[in-house]
Subunit: 269 residues, 3 copies
């Protein structure tokens, strides 16, 4: 499935905190194309808040299910660059994951069932990216996106088998993600992302909340679940990736209700 | 012209208000590539002010004439997502237009002569995107860019005929755009866009103003028409897409003269 | 090396101050694809501060070495558009450079050894882009990125020989770049770029500073050279493109130390 000897049709996505004002993201693209000229490189986002691994993990998880099977996802938010944290690549259900072993793949590996709650690998496969023939010849201490991750993604795109990139890894580092709790029928979750529209996205999925009678967030009560952003002024709605979100008609719910990442949210049945 | 059975060489542009901080634009790209792997996806802009249909319509119109014939333009600024407004696709002179029927294609369909001033279709062809085999199997109420528009664009890119995507539409919703008026030889227009350089672009075209002796905008008088941004401190000049614009040498005219979208501008012959 | 009759595999990069909010960058892409459908267009950055040629020159130089040989780099930061400054294309060691002759290629042509310190061409080759068959038929005074530079890059991508694009140019305009000086063993340089992480990048390379005992910048003394951003609170480190930079662990050195582009920095052996 991942073999593509000429690299034809391979898709490589990038998720980083490099921004678009500097040349760092472009440098990764140059390095990828130098090895794998046919790569179709797609930006997921380069606007992750600097060193915010959790935000990158959320964005990657938001996009991952929609890319073709076989896509190579390269994610580099890497405050520990140049320290002991390992560079890794993981075979996931829908493609490959390439990046630092710092929790950036937490959502994807959990939702794909690749690891248990401690990060021990159950299926798939993962390696530490140490094989020197698949790194840049000149290595820096400060830009492994260029020197390790882009070359690894490009070689996977060419069809190099995962096992050639380095020794097997048995355990993946996971972020300690907030998980919704249920007490006396009430689901307690929290806001995990505010999007550009000011929609406040929680970690509460439809699976854990079969019925929604009332939502309380930051002192505001919202009655019932809506089907459209236009239904009323402030709505609670299961958004496009399956999480309960709070939105405002033609405006920013985060701004109107003063919501931030980390705020608690309760759903009563 | 639009048939391209393997999708080879098809270009799909995106114009949205999704921003680049979230994964929404990337999700659309993943969905497009999943159906049409050879699509060359080009961003026009994802930085449209949230829910500003007029701005998206202007940006699309600014780029449309320069893309190859056969390009598929997918534009999603969609405050009415999940309500009764129709999802549509239109055959235009230089390619296909895919998006909500909320006025986002106003400039293009008028300038291509596809509709009359009321939006009644004169030529080309348009359909409502309801054929379920060309939508995503799982539909959300909140992200039709992913569920309807990206799949429609991708299938058009594969060469699926427009008529297969749904029933014919006879009328396109148009924005009520400000049109320049002429009184006693003076052309009265308004500022419709401020660009990154602070150039203030009006809706006055060279066709309606064969002679420009004096321009008045926000209390400032500018004598004569210039040929270069460097000619003097504040210039009136016909810009790159044919509209009269006000620019400052090495600076922002909008800032210096306090100009905003909607400000009136007069041209005396 | 640069011939590619069908345009297969040609890479064209863009470095501009057009931003991503307007359609200008997209217009250049449309024009390129209209001539050279197989072009793989890669953004280096469109976020150069308006009319800041030095910043564009630095970003281009940061990315240039990492792109495949044969890449065509089109850079348009052009305050003099429509005036007498020449539009040019240059054959460099690793590809082609296309843009205004205003110093935007200074770093690349110096580091490639194409010119002497006065800008006189020593090797490579350069032309003025005046051949009308390789420009757009309709020319504006305000957007030569669309009318001259994008068409030139696209035709080079198709394999049109450089000499066909116009008459030979013997001298390239260079920026007056700050060069590090050595006095009594101390290297005196300056900050030339602040990146998104707040890392302050100087013009001091490892070649001119074989030993670093102490760095002084804006009144702060930093002892010794570090190997990782995590080593201590404020580090001096040779960054990924070979320049000495000042960084803060998990934060912005520029913010903490009040550093700006142009600030002086001293290195004692």
């Amino acid at each position: 499935m991942f073999r593509s000897p000429s690299g034809t049709g391979c898709i490589i996505t990038l998720t980083t905190d490099f921004g678009l004002d500097d040349a760092y993201a472009a440098v990764m693209k140059g390095v990828i194309l130098d090895t794998c000229p046919a790569a179709n490189i797609v930006d997921i986002s380069h606007s992750v808040q600097p060193q915010n691994i959790a935000e990158a993990a959320f964005l990657l998880r938001s996009a991952y299910p929609y890319f073709p099977v076989g896509t190579i996802h390269c994610a580099v938010v890497d405050p520990g660059v140049g320290t002991a944290r390992r560079p890794i690549a993981i075979r996931a259900n829908r493609g490959m994951l390439v990046g630092p072993d710092n929790g950036i793949f937490t959502h994807v590996v959990l939702e794909d069932g690749l690891v248990d709650r401690d990060g021990s690998l159950l299926s798939g496969g993962a390696v530490e990216l140490v094989a020197s023939e698949f790194r840049r010849a000149e290595m820096s201490q400060t830009f492994q996106g260029r020197d390790i991750f882009a070359p690894a993604a490009a070689h996977l795109g060419l069809g190099v088998p995962l096992r050639n990139l380095g020794p097997t890894v048995k355990e993946i580092h996971l972020l300690d993600l907030p998980v919704p709790r249920m007490t006396a029928g009430v689901v307690h979750g929290c806001i995990i992302h505010i999007d550009r529209f000011g929609n406040a996205i929680s970690n509460i999925t439809v699976e854990v909340t079969p019925r929604v009678a009332r939502v309380i967030v930051n002192g505001t009560e919202i009655e019932g679940l809506s089907r459209s952003y236009q239904e009323k002024d402030i709505v609670a709605i299961f958004g496009s990736i399956g999480f309960l979100e709070i939105a405002a008609r033609n405006g920013s719910a985060a701004h109107r209700l003063g919501l931030q990442v980390g705020d608690s949210i309760q759903v009563s049945p």
